[in-house]
């Protein structure tokens, strides 16, 4: 493999043998690399490789228990976020560190508001806010509550927050995982601008092309160990995958199985309307994968939730296998064979404090009981079967699912619905925050389910994903269905339909 590259200038940040362990299990060891001012450094690795852990150490959110972090060559103790902030490090973590009940303006200057004798002077903050927005080209309402923002906008708030502190080193943990294409592009552009002005950037992402497109150098982690630190230009996606996984990975080459014309319609919706979507009609057939494309906020998630009975509809009808569903509730929809993988694992998907096994068992509890008592044996074997099917690693039965890495959590989320395979699978962002290997895994799972006769509706902000998986694609804009394309569709066509 490539040899370690040497830096042209003195490093702004250097790691020397950094390590961290939890309960005696080492999740990070002997990490040593240097980053030059203005460099964009990509951090890569599979789920659970230790990327977030490393960033959290830099951000002062956790403390390393081995090695040293050096700023401008000086060893520095980072024992709290305050220390890191004082050294000009800002961490934008996967779970955004914002206060949802407060305004954008307040969040941007969180903890460091302009003030006169302790009294906040919002006018001064406002001026600085406008300057920052103009600098990076964001369009944010300073008085909006963060809770009301879509994720992409919230992400922008985080970036402004980092800029407002005048950070020298910006650490971003999967910043684009939840963003749509246009937003991703915009974000990457902002990062390039910042780097050009001398800000050092460390970025974690599972999108290898994206990293290759932006990073000057990359570091690959595997099982907490540093595998390589090299120039990005020396690599392709394939070579990176080999480094990350340690062997070849089957490429994303499968396409959906051909759909027989005789396949019956399983789910049919007519004129679904509520306060987020307008007159949405669609149908999916047995074994078909229907993709929903659109910009963030176009109403894709709302469509899935409405179909699933999770949100009320003010007009419209849904029928399953030709039988209309009256007054749809989630329970009824599940009984009719529907399943929903929601967009946010943490908020809507998993009960983080409970074990993986309990989470997987939850939707199908009713099927394994005698007089209300759980048949533990049946549950154990059902969970084992599913765990093997989706390939969650580790002793999942007794660990709170919140302690798993993002990829494994996502697999558990799928597993919930696979105990009794659904007739209709509604999947919102199937691979958010998932590594390349797991992504292939999940894609194969979806394709296999469809091949076995499940009707699937998949929503993804990654257009490639939608295009690769679907038989047919609907494009939504502002809550309406505006176009339909059979697969293979043209990327440009979809984009233009989504925009206007």
């Amino acid at each position: 493999m490539g040899k370690p590259t040497t830096l042209a200038s003195t490093p702004v940040l250097a790691l020397d043998g950094v390590g961290k362990s939890y309960n005696g299990i080492s999740v990070l060891r002997g990490i040593s690399f240097e980053i030059a001012p203005g460099e964009i450094h990509g951090l890569l690795g599979e789920n659970g490789a230790g990327k977030s852990t490393l960033l959290k150490i830099l951000g002062g959110a956790i403390t390393a228990d081995a090695g040293a972090v050096l700023f401008d060559g000086v060893p520095t103790r980072l024992s709290s976020p305050r220390d890191s902030i004082a050294h000009g490090v800002s961490l934008i973590s996967q779970e955004l560190a914002l206060v949802p009940q407060r305004t954008v303006l307040e969040n941007v200057f969180l903890g460091g508001w302009a003030n006169a004798a302790g009294f906040a002077t919002p006018a001064a903050d406002r001026r600085r806010f406008d300057e920052l927005c103009a600098e990076v080209g964001f369009d944010l309402d300073p008085h909006a509550l963060v809770a009301s923002l879509p994720l992409g906008k919230a992400q922008q708030v985080e970036i402004l927050k980092a800029l407002a502190r005048g950070s020298r080193v910006l650490c971003l943990d999967e910043p684009t995982a939840a963003l749509a294409e246009a937003e991703t592009e915009q974000l990457l552009e902002v990062l390039r601008t910042l780097a050009a002005r001398g800000t050092t950037i460390v970025i974690v992402s599972h999108f290898l092309e994206e990293v290759l497109g932006i990073a000057d150098r990359i570091t690959v982690l595997r099982d907490g160990a540093q595998i390589a630190t090299e120039d990005a230009s020396a690599h392709t996606s394939d070579s990176l995958v080999r480094l990350m996984v340690g062997r070849e990975v089957a490429a994303l080459s499968r396409t959906p199985a051909p759909l027989p014309d005789s396949a019956p319609v399983v789910l049919k919706a007519e004129g679904l309307t509520n306060d987020r979507i307008l007159d949405v009609s669609l149908e999916v057939r047995r074994g078909e994968i229907l993709g929903l494309a659109g910009l963030v906020g176009s109403g894709r998630s709302e469509t899935l939730r409405a179909l699933f009975g999770a949100d009320r509809i003010s007009a419209g009808r849904v029928s399953v296998s030709g039988v209309p569903v009256r007054r749809a509730t989630i329970r009824r929809m599940i009984d009719r064979g529907l399943a929903l993988v929601p967009e946010s694992r943490k908020d809507e998907g998993l009960v983080l404090r409970r074990t993986t096994a309990e989470n997987i068992a939850l939707p199908s509890l009713g099927g394994r009981q005698i007089g209300g008592i759980v048949r533990q044996g049946a549950e154990a074997s059902a969970v084992d079967r599913v765990v093997a099917m989706v390939d969650v690693r580790g002793s999942v039965r007794h660990v709170p699912v919140g302690a798993l890495s993002g990829g494994n959590q996502q697999k558990a989320l799928f597993g919930k619905w696979l105990v009794t395979p659904p007739e209709v699978f509604l999947i919102d962002e199937p691979t958010r925050g998932v590594d390349i290997g797991a992504k292939v895994n999940i894609h194969n799972l979806i394709l296999d389910l469809a091949a076995a006769g499940t009707a699937v509706i998949v929503v993804s902000s990654e257009l490639e994903e939608v295009m690769a998986l679907s038989h047919r694609i609907l494009v939504l804009r502002a809550g309406r269905v505006v176009a339909e394309f059979p697969s293979p569709a043209d990327r440009e066509d979809i984009m233009s339909a989504a925009f206007l």
């Binding site: 009960v351 008592i373 533990q376 002793s395 302690a403």
Partner: protein, 326 residues
Amino acid sequence: MTTDTATLPRRRRVDFKDFGILGGLLAIVVYLSLSTTTFLTSQNIVNLLDQAVVIGLLAVGATLCIVSGVFDLSSSATLAVSAIAGVFLTTQFGVVVGFILALAVGAILGTITGTMIVITRVNSFIGSLAISIIYRGVAIVLTGGAILSVTSDQLDAFRVWALPVLDGVSGGTILFAVTAVVLGLVLWGTTFGRRVYAVGGNEEAARLSGVRTPLIHISVFAINGVCAAAAGMVLASRAGSAQPSLGIGMELTAIAAVVIGGTSILGGAGAVWRTVVGVIILTVIGNGFNLLRWDTTYQQVVTGVLILVAVAADSWLSRRSRRSRG
């Protein structure tokens, strides 16, 4: 296929966290056994259990509520109304029917509380506080402020929960033990229990998994109502009568016992056995003070310190043994 080989922290079968609170109890018990001759007598243990009954019943019911993510501050008012109804119905229909109907009244009141909170979607803490004020008022209206007694020929049978029935063990103790075991099993081993944990841990995730979360909440309120009614009937059995002020303030002691046991007030985690330990800790502290003949002036200070130490130890151990990303 993925090669996520980073090993997950294996779960120790015997969890440190579990020892936190048991260790605290053990320490107190050992100390009292060594420093008094009376603590470890069978009579004292029988007494101790009997003293734990009322708070115990309330606390076990509160455990289900708290695990499911709600508070029921109306439980002691439910206790009073149910006991008043129970005494009245006992005078009408006899002891057995009276007791069963009292439990039914408790279930109905709990269901009403739960339904109100689910429908109005107010926070359960303040909602049940308001409802508790209403129920206390109802208790006063029902009795006209008087005390309601059972007839004197019923008194002996009515006192079954207060008197020794089995090797000196009181009827109340047996009632509590049965309730704790049954609800412990319900929470641990039934589909209902699983749903209770799920709703408490993440209501939206549970809802999207097809759990009818309002139904779960109403059910735990109803169960808590039954527990409160049982506690009320034990109190009434001891006094031979019921009155509107019965059990005032006990809901807070019950919640304290639940939390001392280590059940999280955030919901989604906890167990009935933990609550039983919490209740026994509280009872033993009071009992120990009296047996040691310590100046009762200092009792409250020491009680507070012991609770704080127990809870802090539990929180420390649980952080040490299972760090979660939260």
